[in-house]
Symmetry: C2
DNA sequence: GTCTATAATAGGATAGAC
DNA sequence: GTCTATCCTATTATAGAC
C-alpha cells in the first residue's frame, strides 16, 4: 500500500473512532486493531496521536473556511449568503460526518500550535458570518436583533447537524436543505 | 466537613473539570488537587470516577425530565409550552452550566446501567417534546414541516446554550429569553 | 477523613529484526 | 512497512497507618 493511501486510511479510521468514543478514549492500539495492524506500525505513517487529530480537525476547518470566504466575496444578498452557508454545512456534514463531529467535540485536545491555528480559523469563521448578519441587518434584510444570538442559534444547529443526519438519512438532501433554511431563516428575515 | 457536603463539593468540582477538559482527560489526581486533598481520599466519598460522572449527568437529566413532564401536563397551547421549555433550558443552563455541559459531552462515557438510564431519559424527553410539536401542528399553531427537523433545530440550540451564555453574560435573562423565543419560534409558528 | 505506599493495568512511543 | 519486545509514564483503585 502506498504511503499516502495508508496515511489517509489511518486518518479516516481515526476520525470514525474519535467520533464514536472521543479522542481520549481511543488508544493507538484500538486504532491499529481496526486497521488490522499493530500499534507500532502506525508510527511509520504518522508522528503522533495528536498529529492525527490535527489532520482531522484542521483539514475540516480549512474546508469550512474556504466555503465561507468564497460566499463572503459574492455579490449576493445577505439572506442568499446565509442560505449558501447552510448548504455548505449540509454538504460537509454529509460528505465527512466523522470529521465534522471530531472538529466539534475534540478540538480542545489539540496541542499548542495546532490549537492556536484551529481557534484562529474558528474566530475568522464566526467573524465573517457576523459581518454577513450585520450587513443584512443594516440593509433591513434581517430583523434587528442581537446579532450574537442569531449567530449562535444558526451555528449551534449547523454545527450539530452531524448528530441528527445519520438518524434521518431517508430525507432527500434537497428537502433537508429547503426545510432547514425555512426553519432557521424565517425567524430572522423581515417579511 | 460533613460527608455529604464533601461529596457535593467533589461532584461540583468534577463537573467543572469535566466541562473544561472532557471526562477522560481529567484524572482523579487532577480532581483531588483542585480540592486540596490526595486522590486516595476521594474514595472515602465516592465509589469510582464513573460514579461521579453518573451523579453529574443523571441528576441533571432528572432536572430536565421533571421540567418537561410538568409542562406537558399543563392546559396551555403548544407554543406556550415550547416557550416554557426554552425558558427551562435557559434556567438550567444559568444555574448549573457545568452539569449541562457534561451531560452533553460526556454521556457516552457512562457504563452499562447508568448509560441505559440516561438514554431512557433522553428518549423520553425527545418523545415528549415531539408530542407537543405534533399536537401544535395538528391544531395549526405550528407550520406543517418535518417534525423531526423542528425537534432537532430547537434542541440543538437549547442544548448548546452553555457554550454561548458564558461569553454573553451581560445580556439580561429576560432579554435573552424573549429574543431566543422569537428567534426559535417565529420560524415555525403560523402567522 | 486524610495520608503514604503500592498494586494492577493501560497508554504513547521507540528500537531493531525481518 | 510491519512485526515483537520493551520503556516509561500515567491511570484507577485498594490497604492499612494515623
Amino acid at each position: 500500500m502506498k504511503n499516502n493511501d495508508r496515511k489517509e486510511q489511518i486518518v479516516k479510521t481515526a476520525a470514525q473512532l474519535f467520533r464514536e468514543k472521543g479522542y481520549n478514549a481511543v488508544s493507538m492500539r484500538d486504532l491499529a486493531k481496526d486497521l488490522g495492524i499493530k500499534a507500532a506500525s502506525l508510527y511509520n505513517h504518522i508522528s503522533s496521536k495528536e498529529a492525527i487529530l490535527a489532520e482531522v480537525i484542521l483539514s475540516t476547518a480549512r474546508d469550512f473556511t474556504e466555503h465561507i470566504d468564497n460566499t463572503f466575496l459574492e455579490e449576493k444578498s445577505s439572506v442568499k449568503k446565509l442560505e449558501e452557508i447552510i448548504e455548505s454545512h449540509i454538504d460537509l456534514t454529509i460528505e465527512k460526518a466523522n470529521f465534522v463531529a471530531c472538529l466539534n467535540n475534540d478540538w480542545m485536545h489539540l496541542e499548542e500550535k495546532n490549537l492556536n491555528d484551529y481557534i484562529k480559523m474558528r474566530n475568522h469563521y464566526e467573524s465573517t458570518l457576523r459581518k454577513i448578519i450585520i450587513k443584512g441587518m443594516n440593509l433591513h434584510e434581517i430583523e434587528p436583533q442581537n446579532p450574537e444570538l442569531i449567530l449562535f442559534s444558526l451555528l449551534s444547529t449547523l454545527r450539530t447537524l452531524y448528530l441528527w443526519y445519520p438518524k434521518n438519512k431517508h430525507i432527500e438532501k434537497s428537502v433537508l436543505s429547503k426545510e432547514l433554511k425555512n426553519n432557521l431563516l424565517k425567524g430572522i428575515i423581515t417579511i
